[in-house]
C-alpha cells in the first residue's frame, strides 16, 4: 500500500474536482473492495477522495413522465437498500440480489456505487505475482489456461475471461436501472446495462465511466414487471460466496403464455448478461422446462466454455428454468 493522502469530500462537485485534478486519485466508498485492493497491491492510488459521507444517502420516489422511479443515492448502504420497504415490495429482485451478496457486515458497509464498481474476483487479478491483462495490460491472461471455475462463458475475449462479481448489478440490469453520473463536464445518465463493458482488447476497463466520473445515484423504474421479479444465485457455499451463476428475472404471464420476461445472468460474463435472445424466444410461449431450456440454448449458442466452466451452461439452463417456473407459480397464487 503506497503512502496516500486522504480527503473527505464535502460535495459531489468537490469530489469530482479532486479526482480530476490528480491522476493518482480514486473515490473511496465503503472501502470493502478498494481497501482490499490497496492491501493486495491491485490498486495503488496516491490519494483517496472519500465520498461515503456525501449527502447521497437518500432513497426516494420520483414521478417522471415515464412513471414513478425509485432514486437511490450512491452512498446508500447495501443493507439499507435491501431492507427498504419500497425495494422489498416493488423491486424484489434488487432486495434478493443484495441479500444474496457478501455478508451481513459487508452489506452494512458497502455502498450502492461501490457495489456497482467493484472489480472481478478472478484469482489472478488479485494475485499481483501472476500475469493479468486487467491489472497490467499486455502482461497476459493467466486464467485462459488456468483456474477458471468462476470465469466467463459469454462475451469473453482472448485477453480476459473474467466475470463481474456484483449480484446487485445483475438485478439492476433486469430492472432497467439508470445510473446517474457526475463528471467534470456535468451530469449524465446511462442505463446500468451500458455501464459495464465486455473485455475486448481493453480488459483493464471494467466500465464505460471515466476515472473522474462520480456515480451519484441509481434510478429504478417502479413498474408492474419490476414488482414481479426475483433473483436466484447458485454458489459453492450456502452463503458468503460469489455466484457460480445467477439469474435475475421478471415475468408477466398472459394466461398460459409469456407476455413479458426479463432474464439477466450473473457469473456468465464480464458484465451482467441480458439474455435478450432467450427473452424473445419465450414471449408468446407456454412456460415450462422445455420451452425455457430451448430459449436459453438460443442465447448460449455463442457461449464458449473450457473444462473448468462447462458446467455453467447446464447450470444456467436449470437455474433459469427453475427461476422462471417458480415466478410463474407465484404469479398464479
Amino acid at each position: 500500500m503506497r503512502e496516500l493522502t486522504y480527503v473527505r469530500a464535502s460535495s459531489a462537485q468537490e469530489a469530482v474536482e479532486a479526482v480530476t485534478a490528480d491522476a493518482d486519485a480514486m473515490f473511496l466508498g465503503g472501502g470493502t473492495n478498494l481497501v482490499d485492493h490497496l492491501k493486495l497491491g491491485v490498486a495503488r492510488p496516491g490519494r483517496l477522495v472519500d465520498v461515503s459521507r456525501l449527502p447521497l444517502d437518500e432513497v426516494e420516489t420520483r414521478e417522471t413522465p415515464d412513471g414513478p422511479v425509485l432514486r437511490v443515492g450512491a452512498a446508500v448502504r447495501n443493507a439499507d437498500l435491501a431492507a427498504h420497504p419500497l425495494v422489498r415490495s416493488g423491486l424484489p429482485a434488487l432486495s434478493r440480489a443484495l441479500l444474496a451478496g457478501a455478508s451481513g457486515q459487508i452489506r452494512q458497509q458497502a455502498s450502492t456505487a461501490g457495489n456497482l464498481l467493484q472489480r472481478t474476483r478472478c484469482v489472478y487479478f488479485q494475485d499481483v505475482t501472476t500475469p493479468c491483462n486487467k491489472r497490467e495490460p499486455g502482461s497476459g491472461c493467466s486464467a485462459l489456461e488456468g483456474y477458471d471455475r468462476y470465469n466467463a462463458v459469454l462475451g469473453a475475449s482472448e485477453h480476459c475471461v473474467a466475470v463481474h462479481p456484483s449480484d446487485m448489478a445483475v438485478a439492476m440490469v433486469a430492472l432497467d436501472a439508470v445510473v446517474v453520473v457526475l463528471g467534470p463536464e456535468g451530469e449524465r445518465r446511462l442505463p446500468v446495462a451500458d455501464l459495464h463493458r465486455l473485455p475486448g482488447d481493453a480488459p483493464q476497463r471494467d466500465t464505460t465511466l471515466a476515472r473522474d466520473e462520480l456515480v451519484t445515484a441509481v434510478e429504478l423504474p417502479l413498474t408492474d414487471l419490476a414488482a414481479r421479479s426475483t433473483y436466484r444465485k447458485v454458489r459453492d457455499r450456502a452463503s458468503y460466496a460469489f455466484a457460480l451463476v445467477s439469474v435475475a428475472a421478471a415475468l408477466r404471464m398472459d394466461g398460459d403464455t409469456v407476455a413479458d420476461v426479463r432474464i439477466v445472468w450473473g457469473g456468465a460474463a464480464h458484465k451482467p448478461w441480458r439474455a435478450e435472445l432467450a427473452e424473445r424466444a419465450l414471449v408468446g410461449q407456454a412456460l415450462d422446462e422445455d420451452t425455457v431450456a430451448a430459449a436459453v440454448d438460443t442465447e448460449l449458442a455463442t457461449a464458449r466454455t473450457s473444462e473448468g466452466t462447462a458446467y455453467k451452461l447446464p447450470m444456467l439452463r436449470g437455474t433459469t428454468a427453475h427461476t422462471l417456473t417458480t415466478l410463474a407459480t407465484t404469479e398464479d397464487a
Binding site: M1, E3, L4, T5, Y6, R8, L28, G30, G31, T32, V35, D36, L38, K39, L40, L48, D50, S52, A79, A82, A83, P85, R88, S89, P92, S95, R96, L99, A100, A102, S103, G104, Q105, I106, Q108, Q109, A238, S239, Y240
Partner: protein, 168 residues
Amino acid sequence: MDATIRLTVDGTAHEVTVDTRTTVLDALRERLGVTTVKKGCDHGQCGSCTVLLDGRRHLTCLTLAVAQDGAEVVTAGGLGEGEGLHPVQQAFLDHDGYQCGYCTPGQVCSAVGMLDEAKQGHPSHVTEDLEGDTDLTDDEIRERMSGNLCRCGAYAGILAAVREAAQA
C-alpha cells in the same frame, strides 16, 4: 502520512495518530492495544474483526481509520455492562458456542448487531416473504451469522446461543 483522529472504543475516548493507510483493525490492535478484536484474514473474508461501529456491525479490516474520525466502536470487550457479560456472551458460554475462541469476539458482536437488524425488520437471503415479519428461525440465524466463519466448527453452539439470546 499521519493523521490524528478521535475514536471512542468501548466507552473510552481516544485520540490516536494513525497512518492514512491504517485500518480501524490495526489502529485498535497495534496503536491502541485493544486486542478484543481479532484478525483472521485482513480481507473481509472471515468476520473475526467484527465490531459495532456507530451501532452497526462492521468489518474493521476493510475500513480505514482516517475515514472513521469520530466513530464510536464497541468490541466484544465493551458489550457487557461494567464487569458483567452481555446476554449474548453468557449464551455463548452456556451453549459452548466456541472452542479456540478466536472467531468468538467477532461472532458475539455480529450476533448483537444482527439481532438489532432483525428487530428493525431487515429481511435476509432466506426470508420467504420479503414483505412479511422477521421471524428468527434457525435458518434465518444461520444465514444472518454466515459472515462469521468458525473453523473450529462451533456452529451448533453458536446457533443455540443466538437462538436463546433472540428469545430473551
